[in-house]
Symmetry: C2
Subunit: 436 residues, 2 copies
């Protein structure tokens, strides 16, 4: 029966069998110190016997080993115990020196990233890289838990769409048995239509953007956490839901992955229970005053404003995440809901977290006649099949609703403190990278 | 504060506000009986007052209503209680009669399916249709719970691949910034590579098949539950894991969605704790004897054999699910593991459930040199980028491992008893359907 690294200490004084990858080895004063990596952590093995040492000669890092030996307490060993007098079995010998090292933290300088991604298959074996994705998995689990506690139903919507649904140069196109299909940029229409069935739905899945952007914030494929909520009183319900969500995810990730976060030097974000809200016009005004750069004509926060807003919120409002609200109606999407108090404003918000937008949220126009009007005003054709099915849901009754899309990689990036969103994707996709 | 249908009875004797869609209404002896649908079920409202009745004239099914009134015990009402003396608010009036009815079970005759899918946005509001997807969501949650209890890490792998990775006419191709990309048919290579990082991984996400198949079992996009497990003793570990998984999912789905399953007339499957195993040659022999159709030359089970095997297993082996094992090595994929006991046999199994294959599982060849040999023997080029990164994982050490892919829609279909897998997809995609 195999013992995992985090259980080794409980076997002190007994014989145990462990298995894993040769993480590193070094010789010292006639002894050989071997460190194994398994799915929970590291195990140190002290090899004294010459026959056993001989088995390990010429065996490179990455080799798969099974080791049986006596477990001794050793506070300085990574597992709090180590193995002595081992019998070593080489399950899979690795003959070649790996092209990159995986046994020490890697410098994620921008100029190193391409090399890391080229060797991603091995690079991810690094404990710090792995830690990023253990945090990501914990975040996804926390998100699902939060959705389930709020009675959301998980849905799976198609990523292959009739070409007419989403247009423009920003979509990928392909041939689907003679018809042109596009890859979904978001499950937007589907999640709204499903409010009519389940009231509250969420989906965690891939979405696709053909934007030719080379930035630290964009990928051509990413994991989107999408949610939609019916029977809301008003847009504040969505913002309150998101405040609870970010707090809950932070709590659970720090509860379950503290060792990983600590290895990554991640600092737990300060978040207020209700995340602060800053109207866009106020952000423009404050930013322009503070920096001398006039942004008051911008329809969206600029990247510099996103960073500034988070610094401002952390310092003045006690939260490293802040909503930017009250976007101008002049640049709203046809399905956005115009504020009842101010028709110049759309009920949309961006949630900024540590300098980057991680969520876009909005209330949706749920009244069929107004939605058709807004679609036409935006130049859309209600008879286009991409809109026709969507409009059907409204024609036959949808309640007030709203929702959001959250980028799982951006959330991970900001929780653990990475510079580039691609570092939070197992196998990032961008303009120049389709492999591995 | 809105009261949901399943909580209504606890408010008996008090005033409550409910909200939902007008599901149906009928007049009887001066009274109007209104049934509302919310995300948990149905609520009956008895409208006596003429002013209140007048509000509902000309209001069609699907209209969104809010109703405040007195809650009275009523065992015959769907919620065990109903609302009297209501004040009705029409939140969203629906003026047109919906093109399909959603208030009674729908006949899923094959010739009706296209009409249902054309009106899927509304068809899913039918409680029986909705029940299918509540079961599916519960199944996905049970699967994740099972994976987490067994220390699997959830991963998200790219669906956009360099064209060389997967070939043939069965893949969708698209332009990705000047490079040809294909859509993943499965996360096969990625999950195997990630064994080197996490040992045990799973992913629930979309996969794509460009096969021009018009059957009740195929879609061009479906949700695949993929898992891979390292440090196995042998292939039996994978089959044992799957036995536990199907039993656990069945238990949890029947525990959490009993009312939905009952509405769908679903019968709980009989499953043995360890699902029985039938070598393919034995299936061929028994099937040929029983039916007179000689299948002994087939390399896979035929659809007729899949149905027969499940009937046989249910009758003779006490299980509605059965593994077909010991596939001929002559038709194995290059990454399959050849049996150590019999080199003519590959360590692969199909899990058949109620007449259909829902899982394909195999042990993988984990030894670099043999894998390269098998790849070359199958005509593959180890220097092809699609294989190069994959092989890197093996060259630098992977332990014995195996895994499987399970179709979430097929599992749902067989749990609830549908004839066509497309009925278990919210928005199915096939040769002729890209919308809604």
């Amino acid at each position: 029966m195999r013992v995992l690294s985090d259980q080794l200490k409980t076997h002190t004084g007994r014989t145990a069998t462990v298995a894993g990858w040769l993480h590193k080895k070094r010789a010292m004063g006639g002894l050989m110190f071997v460190v194994l990596r398994d799915r929970r952590g590291l195990i140190q093995v002290v090899v004294q016997d010459e026959t056993e040492q001989a088995k390990l000669h010429g065996i490179q890092n990455g080799s798969v080993l099974e080791v049986k030996g006596a477990v001794k307490d050793e506070p300085r060993a990574p597992a709090g115990a180590e193995i002595h007098d081992p019998v070593v079995t080489i399950v899979i010998p690795v003959a070649d020196v790996p092209p990159i090292e995986v046994d020490k933290p890697i410098d994620h300088k921008p100029e190193n990233l391409d090399t890391l991604f080229e060797h991603r298959v091995l690079n991810l074996r690094n404990l710090n890289e792995r830690a990023v994705f253990k945090v990501q998995a914990a975040a996804a689990e926390a998100l699902r838990g939060y959705f389930h506690r709020h009675d959301f139903t998980e849905i799976h919507t198609p990523k292959l769409l009739a070409a007419a649904t989403e247009g423009g140069a920003e979509v990928f196109k392909l041939d689907h048995f003679g018809q042109t299909a596009t890859l979904a940029q978001s499950p937007q229409f589907y999640k709204q239509m499903m409010v009519g069935v389940f009231e509250r739905v969420y989906e965690i899945g891939p979405v696709y953007r053909a934007e030719p952007s080379v930035t630290t914030r964009h990928m051509s494929e990413y994991t989107s956490v999408d949610a939609e909520m019916g029977f809301i009183e008003d847009f504040q319900d969505i913002l309150d839901f998101l405040s609870g969500l970010l707090n809950q995810v932070t709590d659970e990730v720090w509860k379950h992955r503290e060792a990983d976060l600590s290895a990554l030097n991640a600092t737990r974000p300060t978040l207020s229970a209700k995340l602060p809200q800053l109207p866009l016009s106020e952000l423009h005004r404050r930013f322009s005053e503070a920096t001398g750069t006039d942004t008051t004509k911008e329809k969206d926060p600029t990247p510099a404003e996103e960073r500034w807003a988070c610094q401002y919120a952390a310092k003045e409002l006690g939260s490293e995440a802040v909503f930017i609200t009250e976007f101008p109606a002049s640049s709203m999407k046809f399905y956005h809901y115009r504020s009842e108090h101010n028709p110049e404003v759309a009920e949309r918000a961006d949630l900024l977290f540590r300098g980057v937008e991680i969520v876009t949220a909005s209330q949706r126009e749920h009244r069929y006649d107004r939605l058709v009007e807004q679609l036409k005003a935006a130049g859309g054709d209600p008879e286009n099949p991409g809109f026709r099915y969507f409009l059907q849901a409204f024609r036959y009754g949808l309640p007030p609703h709203g929702g959001f899309g959250l980028g799982l990689e951006r959330l991970t990036q900001k929780l653990v403190g990475l510079n580039n969103v691609k570092e939070a994707a197992l196998f990032p996709r961008d303009m120049s990278r389709l492999a591995p």
